[in-house]
Symmetry: C2
Subunit: 380 residues, 2 copies
């Protein structure tokens, strides 16, 4: 459907069609400023993960506030954001297919581009693709710092860095840029002490990888990584020079469920799904947003400033019931608006073509803009 | 990214970019023919649910095989399919917002349109919108036959039907068309006996609603509903005159996990996500498809014709490990293709912009077409 059918600039919030993905711009700007100030204060680079927001407008706001560029996970995300004018992009992930590496190399002609590697095959194929275009690319060696997904063991980082350096300019197109070190599994450990312990483990692993590289006489310019759950610990470790946190900007229900140390920066919910009650039973209300409107991989959404519990009603519906001890008088009426805080912002954003951006709050605000989500669906 | 970057007609399967949503056209055609033959044999109408496939090309194939039209859940889905030439569409869901009902009324000028209602407010607002355009629409009264989501209680169906009939042509624009009766929660009950019992309960509820309508002297032309899990029971009950099953065409892992009676029609997996190994550990392989490429709301995908287990690797990754008792020698190598059978086809389709349609099987076939998914993302 057309953007105009959802909302137009100047519309009151009430008239936004449902379901819609809505950004509380005031809250988002406060989150943006908080993280930018934190990075400045601690003298670390900020390269937020655009896999979360997939939007060139938001990438530009982040870079205007001091971010050096953005991360993405996919070649097609990088292509979409580059086409929309984002000029500094890091694909913080492995690409192994030769045809896709040709696209990576082509993209490096137009933007400052970086990529991660974790295998000799990956290095050699990347070097071959870059050689054919004559372009250069920054290359981070990914090290597994605890997640158990991609990345080499710390002890193997030196050898892989050496293989990258073997393709250095001017003969080759690979600029060794440092280490990719992200402990995804640590981000949602709820207790501060346990999350800090996981972050300490990751820091020790990253230091070991730095040592393995240094032992071969290779300089390691940067360690990049960190997420919204661990960035304060990661900075305190002194290991990371660049933060990739993304979710801080929108703060989903899953991150809000983390305990946070009293001195750490705090972020507000800034991303919502606006829904509407389309059916009422005696003891439940049915809203028009199901898990095609908000992702449930990381648990349920939370009702925003409204009593009641949420239950999965399938692809296109959600079911609202009274809280324990509550009665049906607390339920929203037929036609009422119900705001949801998504359980997980990244895959929720990926379900929508655009953000409806609201100034002045969800209750009485107006639509300030409708932003396209350029990299929506860019999974390849 | 462009369609051409994913696949072109005539390409071998091996060259399809990953991740990609791939249809095994031979299998899909067999599923299509099996369900069409079943409907013909049992003299019931088939109106498959296009919320599953969201594609005008597939809707046309279904209608060419005898389907009377398609169902959708959302006004914007109906708009997208109508714009792509589908001429008979049933919104099997409630719409309560006045602005959206204006769009429903406008759409009825161009296609044969039907909609469901389950409230007096819904009937009155729909009637008002239709009156302003002078168009007519088929209206089904939704009855809750066991799911506990939308729909009135059977005993209340007569009164609501009467309110629809009060807006009948030529003065009004509402043609009372019968009952919407779908027991979603019954579809994935695994055991045949328990699923049949749930279907029997739904049939009893639908009969009670028919009786309530008949008691008011109103004819009930049709009961529409049923899904891939229960359609054979629903037909056997004699209550349903129209089947809305959708998933039969693609058969996801969740439906394949149902036990099926020996005499019931069988369907094959016809929808797959093609992925590739982008990282290898000593005891695991990482593929480039995560839950932004296939939905996990109804459980994990299944590895297709390959040993190993799947684990969630996040938004952009999946993790393949050896089966219990297996060793790493059974794992796919770096760069290998891994095919996934999605856990749930509907929300998986909704993550992709297009189907890559393959003739001749996944191993050695070629790309026959690339079909747009016109209603992808149409949640409103």
């Amino acid at each position: 459907m057309s953007a105009a059918a959802i909302a137009r600039r100047g519309d009151p919030v009430e008239s936004i069609d449902t379901p819609a993905l809505v950004v509380d711009l005031d809250a988002m700007e406060r989150n943006l400023a908080t993280m930018a100030a934190f990075a400045r204060q601690h003298r670390v680079r900020l390269r937020p993960h655009a896999k979360m927001h997939k939007s060139a407008a938001i990438a530009r706001l982040q870079m205007a506030a001091g971010a050096v560029g953005v991360c993405v996970q996919k070649t097609s995300e990088a292509e979409a954001l580059a086409a929309a004018g984002v000029g500094d992009i890091y694909i913080s992930n492995e690409v192994i297919d030769r045809a896709k590496l040709e696209r990576v190399a082509a993209l490096a002609a137009g933007v400052r581009l970086a990529i991660a590697v974790d295998s000799l095959v990956g290095v050699e194929r990347l070097a071959a693709a870059m050689a054919r275009t004559g372009q250069a690319i920054d290359v981070f060696v990914e090290v597994d710092v605890g997640h158990g997904r991609c990345g080499v063991a710390p002890a193997a980082a030196g050898e892989l860095a050496q293989q990258v350096v073997a393709h250095a300019p001017p003969e080759g197109g690979l600029r060794f840029a440092g280490l990719q070190a992200y402990h995804g599994a640590a981000q949602h450990v709820r207790s501060v002490a346990e999350r800090e312990a996981a972050a300490h483990h990751a820091a020790a692993q990253a230091r070991a990888a730095q040592a393995a590289i240094g032992a071969l006489g290779i300089a390691c310019p940067l360690v990049t990584g960190a997420g919204t759950g661990t960035f304060a610990f990661d900075v305190a470790s002194g290991v990371w020079g660049e933060l990739q946190a993304g979710s801080y900007l929108f703060m989903d229900r899953d991150y809000a469920d983390n305990d946070v140390a009293s001195a750490a920066p705090r972020f507000e919910h800034a991303l919502f799904v606006k829904s509407r009650v389309v059916s009422r039973g005696a003891a439940h209300a049915v809203i028009d947003a199901g898990h095609k409107s908000h992702a449930i991989d990381s648990g349920p959404p939370r009702l925003w400033q409204r009593r009641g519990t949420w239950a999965n009603g399938g692809d296109e519906h959600g079911i609202v019931r009274p809280e324990a001890g509550g009665d049906a008088s607390t339920l929203p009426a037929l036609g009422d608006t119900v705001w949801l805080v998504p359980g997980h912002c990244d895959p929720t954003v990926n379900l929508h073509d655009r953000y409806v951006v609201v100034r002045g709050g969800l209750a009485t605000g107006v639509v300030e803009a409708v932003w396209p989500i350029e990299a929506r669906g860019c999974v390849a």
